[in-house]
Structure formats: structure tokens, C-alpha cells
């Protein structure tokens, strides 16, 4: 059966987003939709898992098979969906608090095992929904509700840690460059294996990063060798400016290589019946 090409409207929710005016999440929401439409993936073939946070309040703002998980736990259900039915496109949305702290074990394990999901981190460098506490990516000295005189902890570097954990695709996007962000999301979705896009987002209310990133971001040169991990680290560790685009991309074994059963058919479409008769002989 040929599907008609999906349109923007197919993905559009009837609900009005509840984000603050000026919030970067509007841009991410729209760029996700555009990326999926341009890749011609229809909404019913798309599963998006969400975390709890301002990001998760987007769960009913895109029309697709959405799964709003618990705080820090957006990734595990996404992995499970992919195991059950790998014909589906599976995205996992999560915030900086959710992924880099509450769910950090999932971040590392999912990257290490090269699970075939696309992780989109809505990284506003603050706890948005809980009204402005320090997050793992909050800049040092930035005043928050939990560090009123300025955050004392040095922030984590999501790109470097993802690289170290073994991610096969690591990229950064910025809501200030929507079309570029969309392209990065498209590449991430197309990547076979674990893809992480750290999306610099402005929390207009608690951490307005607009001025900072307007000045300090640049698009990584087209000639950057994406398979060179050391170069990727070098860009990731720059502190005066912030590269945008794909830092690193290699092809690595993912679930189709690891589980022979998934080679010919999805798990849900397996037709053979499990049989215990032959197994009983061992116990005779």
C-alpha cells in the first residue's frame, strides 16, 4: 500500500502549547515536525517518548504515537518500542535535568550499546518545569533558585560524555538556527544506531541563553571529518565558542546485528510459534 506523503498538518496537534511566550520549545516542536515530514515518515509510524519537564509538556503537542514516561525515563521505553517493532521511527525527547542527572544511567547505557533510537535533548541548562533550579548543564556562577548567588558546580559536557560513552552519532543544534536544527534532527533520525542531539534551547523565563548563543555559536565546517573522535572532542571542549552540527558519526553494530531474530522480521511480526517440546528433553 502506498502512503500519501505526510503533511505538516498531519503532525499538528489541536492543542495550544502551554510554554511561556518566547520559549525555545516552540521552535523544537516545529522543527521536529518539519524534519519528520521532509523525511516522509507518517505520524502513525512515529513513536516519540517524552520525559517529565517543560519538554514533556510537548507530548500532546505533536500528533504521533506519543509516550510520556516518568522523569529521567524517556529512553528505556523508546528502546523497548524499537525492539518490539523496529519498522517504527523512534524518537526520545528529554530535558537536560532528565537525561544528564535523573536518567544518566540510561544515557550512558543506551549510547554504549548503540540502541537504535534518536535522542533529542531539549537542553535549556535549567530545570524549567520546577521553576528554575540548577541543572547539570547550568553555567557556573549563574544564579538559580538552588544557588541564589550563582551555581557553584561546573556543568557537565553532554557532547564529550556522549562520545566517551560510545555514541555513534553526536550533534548539537540551536533553536536560534531553526533550519540548521531541522537538518541535524533529520540526520539523527536517518542514522542507524544511537543518535544524540543536544539542542541548545532558551528558557525565556529562567535562563535566557539567546544573547549568549547568538554571539558564540558557529556552524561546524563541512570539511570536519565526522569519523575523527579526537577532533570531535576538541570541538566539544571549546569554551569560548560553540560548534553546531554533527560532531561525530560512525557506523557501529546495532540491534539488527546483535539480534539475529530481527534480521528478517520485526519482533511483533514474528509468525513462528514458540515450542517447548524440544526443550523438555534436557530435563528427562
Amino acid at each position: 500500500m502506498t502512503q500519501t506523503k505526510p503533511k505538516i498538518g498531519d503532525y499538528q496537534s489541536k492543542l495550544r502549547p502551554t510554554w511561556c511566550p518566547g520559549c525555545g520549545n516552540f521552535v523544537i516542536n516545529q522543527m521536529m515536525i518539519k524534519a519528520l515530514v521532509e523525511l516522509e515518515i507518517p505520524p502513525h509510524r512515529t513513536v516519540i517518548t517524552y520525559d517529565i519537564g517543560c519538554n514533556g509538556n510537548g507530548a500532546d503537542k505533536i500528533r504521533a504515537y506519543s509516550f510520556k514516561s516518568l522523569h529521567g525515563r524517556s529512553l528505556p521505553p523508546a528502546i523497548g518500542v524499537k525492539y518490539a517493532n523496529h519498522d517504527l521511527t523512534v524518537l526520545s525527547v528529554i530535558g537536560d535535568g532528565g537525561l544528564f542527572w535523573e536518567g544518566a544511567a540510561h544515557w550512558i547505557a543506551t549510547a554504549q550499546r548503540n540502541e537504535d533510537i534518536t535522542v533529542l535533548v531539549w537542553d535549556n541548562q535549567i530545570y524549567g518545569l520546577t521553576t528554575g533550579q540548577t541543572s547539570p548543564t547550568t553555567q557556573i556562577n549563574y544564579p538559580t533558585k538552588t544557588w541564589p548567588k550563582g551555581s557553584a558546580d561546573e556543568p557537565i559536557n553532554p557532547i564529550s560524555v556522549s562520545l566517551a560513552a560510545g555514541a555513534s552519532f553526536v550533534a548539537r543544534g540551536w533553536v536560534g538556527k531553526p533550519n540548521h536544527l531541522k537538518d541535524v534532527i533529520k540526520q539523527a533520525i536517518k542514522h542507524k544506531g544511537f543518535a544524540l542531539v543536544d539542542i541548545l534551547q532558551t528558557c525565556f523565563t529562567f535562563n535566557n541563553l539567546l544573547p549568549k548563543y547568538q554571539d558564540q555559536t558557529y556552524i561546524i565546517d563541512d570539511n570536519h571529518d565526522k569519523t575523527d573522535k579526537i577532533k570531535a572532542y576538541k570541538i566539544a571542549e571549546q569554551t569560548d565558542k560553540f560548534g553546531l552540527g554533527v560532531f561525530y558519526q560512525v557506523s557501529k553494530p546495532t540491534i539488527y546485528h546483535k539480534y539475529p531474530i530481527l534480521k528478517s522480521k520485526t519482533l511483533i511480526n514474528q509468525t513462528s510459534t514458540n515450542q517447548i517440546d524440544d526443550l523438555l528433553a534436557e530435563f528427562e
Binding site: K14, L15, P42, P43, H44, R45, V47, T49, I52, N57, A59, D60, R63, A64, Y65, S66, F67, K68, S69, L70, R73, L75, P76, P77, A78, I79, G80, V81, K82, Y83, A84, N85, D87, L88, A105, H106, I108, A109, Y259, P260, I261, L262, L267, I268, Q270, S272, T273, N274, Q275, I276, D278, L279, L280, F283, E284
Partner: protein
């Protein structure tokens, strides 16, 4: 029980010394000779050293419980003898290689007849590997019990087939050496004549087989004793079955991945022990509100905390009933033996699917790791697969499909991701019929009421427990989970009535009361320190309950329970 028909043999020694190998070879050979047997294993949470034992009870009749004493003790080193002395048990016979006996005779338990063998030195003389001592010991025991060596030889040939002919040859020689090293046979047993085809299997394997038979497709777990052998077994069969097994990075991830797989439509199960269940509880709560089916096996062990990681307890009933914040429906069930485990896990998969709920399946160290003889026909019990209201065909177009719509029976049809007309939101937030998040709203009350209404139907529809034994007796002995067989044995012996509860939540209090109240006295047996089922029985209005508890890390032994119940009746 001081039952003349049962011979109990205990093999003891340090971890890694072959206790399990000797025990397994012996139990397999006895099975092959036509006996029923029961193997109970005790071991510390260590890889080398410590003290391990493997106790085998054998009989011509089915025997599926443990005993507190051994008729025959086979120590594999002198530490093992010290252990048996410490417990005060006095085996009638001690059969041992010279190397496992103390130099000083006074260190032997008095009253035991010691049969000292010279196997190690003879093996050495014949240039047979030291490890074949296992087969030599079993050979000696076969002679001791007056059983034909041929039966043992057949099992050796089968057991070592993968190791090659040389290894088989060495073990056959060793078995013969052991067999010929004894000339007396004081415990002459006659070979069983009945020819039932039996299997020797743990409860965990039966659970895994039930999952396979129930067309389970996805299993994830993080290793934790005593659940781990389910993970091992399922991982070992994935070449020939349509099953995917994922060892997860944490229990939280295990159940999170499982939730995703189950949501996407495949039959899914996870397994853990109490500590892992604690970690899983947040996702159990999500399953409750998102109405996702999942079977969660909790193989209990001695708690709290890390407790006694490799020992027995039934102390997770409370947490099974209430794990996860908020209020939502679930089923808690507990099989009593491997046959029931095989059958019940298939029911668990059906119930999870039909009611779109988490089902917590309680087993424990004793049931999960003990080796039971089962009639092969046990595995003919194959439940019909019921997947509930999964919707494959939806004709109407929907902007969003009302996944959580209000149906008469409280169960909403469930389209799976990929269905062109079934798009909806699945969420841990309270939601409207489409899955959109809501705030405090009249729909919240309707949704919560809808979900909880499943508990009412479950309490009505779950099969009620049936009393057995002498229904006119004054005393009814009640238990749940792995105490089933030991209680049955005692109830039989004392001509009492018994009741085994397989379904533990939700309980139909009215039915329970009507079953229990005709008895003058209820004896409740629980392998824990507080009596977790007692609360329920009291709530149901059951009177005159006497509770027998045990929480030393071991299961109830039949002889022990017999004496304790005798004192109460």
C-alpha cells in the same frame, strides 16, 4: 518427615568443590532409575569457599518438600562435617572419601556410621582426573543403595556428551571404582516399577518455559539472585524461539524497556528479586495509569536490604500489593510448585493483556532454585492465548483515537503504534480519553474510577481457592506460594484440611470468609516474620487464626512443620 519411604541424602562442601555437580549427577541418576526426588540447595553469596549443600530426598512416591535431617551425609571436605555437627543433625551414615574426613575420630558426629573410602588415591593410581571423584562418589552411593550401576552409566554418557569421549570414559571408570569400593549395601532400595516419565526441574525453569509457551516475545532483567536463572535460561534458548532477551543496565531500565515493548504490542516479562522490585516500583505505577500490560516476576529472598541474598523468605507480599505510588489495579499471584508455575505464568500473561495491568508474580528462592521431579504430562497444560482488547482494524479516521475511552467493562480498546487510525497518547499523566494531559478535572475522577473498576471484576473473576484434604476436619491449614507442597504433605499426614492461595490480590473477602469460617481453627503458615497474609484474613473476617512463621532463611521442612502443627491441634 520420619517417613520410612523417603531417603534423604545431603552432600556438603565448600563452594566450587563440586557439591552441585555431585548432587546433580546423583539426582539425575536417581530419576533415571525411576525415583521421584527433590533437591534443595543451600549456598552462601560467594563463588569460592563457604559452605554449600545439596540435599536430595528420594522416594518411590512423589516427594516435593525438604526435610531438616539427612539419613546419609556426603561431606566433600572436613569443614562440611563441622557444619553438620553445628546444626546438631546426626546422619545415620556418613560416606566420604578419606580426604574429607578428620584425622581424629572424635571429630566425627557420634552415632553416625562412617563409611570411609579410598577414592582419591585410587583415582590417582589409575591416572583418572581428580574431578571424576564426583562420579566415583555417586558410584559408591549407588552400591550403598543397591542400585544398578548401569543406570548411573547411562546418565554419565548423556551428561558428559558435550565434553567428549575421553571425559565420558574417565567418569565411567571413576563410577565403577566407587561402585566397587563398597561391598555392603545396608540401605537396599528396590527399583521403582511404575513407569511415569518424569522431568527434574527448578521452579524458575518452569516459569521460563511457561513464558515461552505463553508466546512471550520479550524479556529483560538485571541479574539478581534468586531470579537470575530465568534470565539465563531464556537467554540460552533464543536461537530456536522467537524471543528477544535484553540484560538491562539497571532494574529501572529493565522494566522501562519492557514497558515500551509491551506498549508496542509484544508479550513481555521482567524478573527480579525484592531489591529490584523496589527499583521497579516507579514504572509499576506508570503501568497502572498508562494501562500497559506487563508480568513482573519477583523471586523473593531473605530481606530487608541485601538480607541473606541466597536464602529463602516470603516477605514481599506487602510490597507486591502496594509497590508504586498512587492507586491502581494489579494482580498478585504466587505459584506453589513448578507445575503450577508453568500454568500460572501463562495465566499471568493473559491477565496482564486482558486487563491491561501489571501482574506481579511471586516466587522465591526455594521454589525457584530447588529441583523438583515432575510428571512430563505437566507440560501438556497449555493455556489459550488471550491478548485482550488489542485493536488491529480501525475503519474510521481519527485525529486522535480514544485509547482510554469508557467501555462497560472498564477496559479500553488498545491500538498499537503503527496503526494508521489509532494514533493516541500513552502517558504517565492523568489524561482524557485520547491521552491528552489534564489538570484537576471531572475526567480525572472518571478515569481513576474506570481503572479501579478492574479490581472489582478481578476479585469476582479470579479463580477462588479450593480447600482440599479432610474437609470435615476442625483445622484448616492455609498457605501461599512455595509452602504449598510441604503443607500438603503435613495436612495429608494429620488428616486435616488445607488451602493454598494462588491469587493473592485482589482477594474476594466474602468468598474467602465463606471458605475459612466453617473451620474451628485456621493455621496460617508463612515463611516470613510478620504474617503478611494474616492482615487479609482478618480483614475478611476470618477468626481463630494461629500463625506459624519461619524467617531463618530456610524453608519449612516437612518434619519440622509436622511437629509444629501437631502442637497446635
Amino acid at each position: 518427615m520420619t517417613n520410612k519411604d523417603i531417603v534423604s541424602i545431603r552432600i556438603g562442601g565448600p563452594a566450587g568443590s563440586g557439591v552441585k555437580s555431585v548432587g546433580k549427577l546423583l539426582q539425575k541418576s536417581l530419576q533415571h532409575a525411576g525415583f521421584y526426588s527433590f533437591g534443595y540447595l543451600g549456598y552462601p553469596s560467594l563463588i569460592r569457599g563457604g559452605y554449600n549443600f545439596y540435599q536430595i530426598n528420594l522416594s518411590q512416591q512423589p516427594v516435593d518438600y525438604s526435610l531438616s535431617y539427612a539419613d546419609i551425609f556426603i561431606p566433600l571436605n572436613s569443614l562440611a562435617l563441622e557444619q553438620i555437627k553445628k546444626t546438631g543433625s546426626k546422619p545415620r551414615y556418613i560416606i566420604a572419601d578419606k580426604t574429607a574426613l578428620p584425622d581424629d575420630k572424635r571429630d566425627l558426629p557420634d552415632k553416625s556410621q562412617v563409611i570411609k573410602l579410598n577414592l582419591t588415591s585410587q583415582l590417582k593410581k589409575l591416572k583418572i582426573t581428580k574431578i571424576s571423584l564426583n562420579s566415583a562418589l555417586v558410584g559408591a552411593l549407588f552400591k550403598f543403595l543397591n542400585l544398578p550401576l548401569e543406570k548411573l552409566n547411562q546418565v554419565i554418557k548423556k551428561q558428559f556428551v558435550k565434553k567428549g569421549r575421553a571425559v565420558i570414559g574417565q567418569n565411567l571408570k571413576a563410577a565403577a571404582l566407587g561402585f566397587n569400593s563398597l561391598d555392603h549395601k545396608p540401605l537396599s532400595l528396590s527399583l521403582p516399577t511404575t513407569k511415569v516419565k518424569t522431568l527434574v526441574m527448578t521452579g524458575n525453569t518452569a516459569i521460563a518455559l511457561g513464558f515461552i509457551q505463553g508466546q512471550g516475545r520479550f524479556f529483560s532483567a538485571y541479574p539478581m539472585t534468586p531470579s537470575t536463572s530465568i534470565l539465563h535460561y531464556l537467554a540460552s534458548v533464543t536461537d530456536n524461539q522467537s524471543i528477544l532477551v535484553r540484560q538491562a543496565s539497571t532494574e529501572i531500565e529493565a522494566i522501562g524497556i519492557a514497558a515500551g515493548a509491551a506498549y508496542a504490542g509484544v508479550r513481555t516479562m521482567v524478573a527480579t528479586s525484592g531489591g529490584g522490585l523496589d527499583l521497579m516500583s516507579e514504572f509499576i505505577s506508570l503501568l497502572g495509569i498508562a494501562e500497559i500490560p506487563l508480568v513482573i516476576v519477583d523471586a523473593q529472598r531473605t530481606g530487608p536490604g541485601t538480607g541473606l541474598p541466597t536464602w529463602q523468605e516470603q516477605s514481599d507480599l506487602n510490597i507486591a500489593r502496594c509497590a508504586g505510588h498512587g492507586e491502581f489495579p494489579r494482580v498478585v499471584m504466587a505459584p506453589g510448585d513448578p507445575a503450577e508455575a508453568f500454568h500460572l505464568i501463562q495465566e499471568a500473561l493473559n491477565l496482564a493483556d486482558e486487563y491491561q495491568i501489571p501482574v506481579i508474580f511471586l516466587t522465591d528462592k526455594y521454589l525457584g532454585e530447588s529441583l523438583f521431579s515432575l510428571d512430563k504430562s505437566t507440560f501438556d497444560h497449555r493455556s489459550k492465548i488471550k491478548r485482550g482488547k488489542i485493536l488491529n482494524l480501525i475503519n474510521d479516521k481519527h485525529h486522535l483515537f480514544p485509547r482510554y475511552q469508557f467501555d462497560q467493562d472498564g477496559i479500553s480498546p488498545r491500538p498499537l503504534p503503527g496503526n494508521v487510525n489509532g494514533i493516541h497518547i500513552t502517558t504517565s499523566d492523568e489524561h482524557d480519553v485520547y491521552g491528552n494531559s489534564i489538570e484537576s478535572d471531572p475526567i480525572r475522577i472518571k478515569m481513576q474510577t474506570k481503572r479501579l473498576s478492574k479490581l472489582g471484576s478481578l476479585a469476582k473473576n479470579l479463580p477462588p481457592a479450593k480447600a482440599y484434604g479432610n474437609l470435615k476436619a476442625k483445622t484448616l491449614v492455609v498457605g501461599w506460594g512455595s509452602t504449598k507442597k510441604v503443607i500438603q504433605a503435613v495436612v495429608d499426614r494429620l488428616n486435616l484440611a488445607g488451602l493454598h492461595l494462588s491469587y493473592l490480590y485482589p482477594l474476594n473477602h466474602a468468598v474467602l470468609k465463606s471458605i475459612l469460617n466453617p473451620y474451628q481453627q485456621i493455621i496460617l503458615v508463612e515463611n516470613n516474620s510478620t504474617g503478611q497474609l494474616e492482615t487479609d484474613l482478618k480483614l475478611a473476617g476470618v477468626k481463630n487464626i494461629k500463625t506459624l512463621l519461619k524467617f531463618d532463611g530456610e524453608p519449612f521442612f516437612a518434619d519440622e512443620l509436622l511437629e509444629k502443627i501437631k502442637l497446635l491441634i
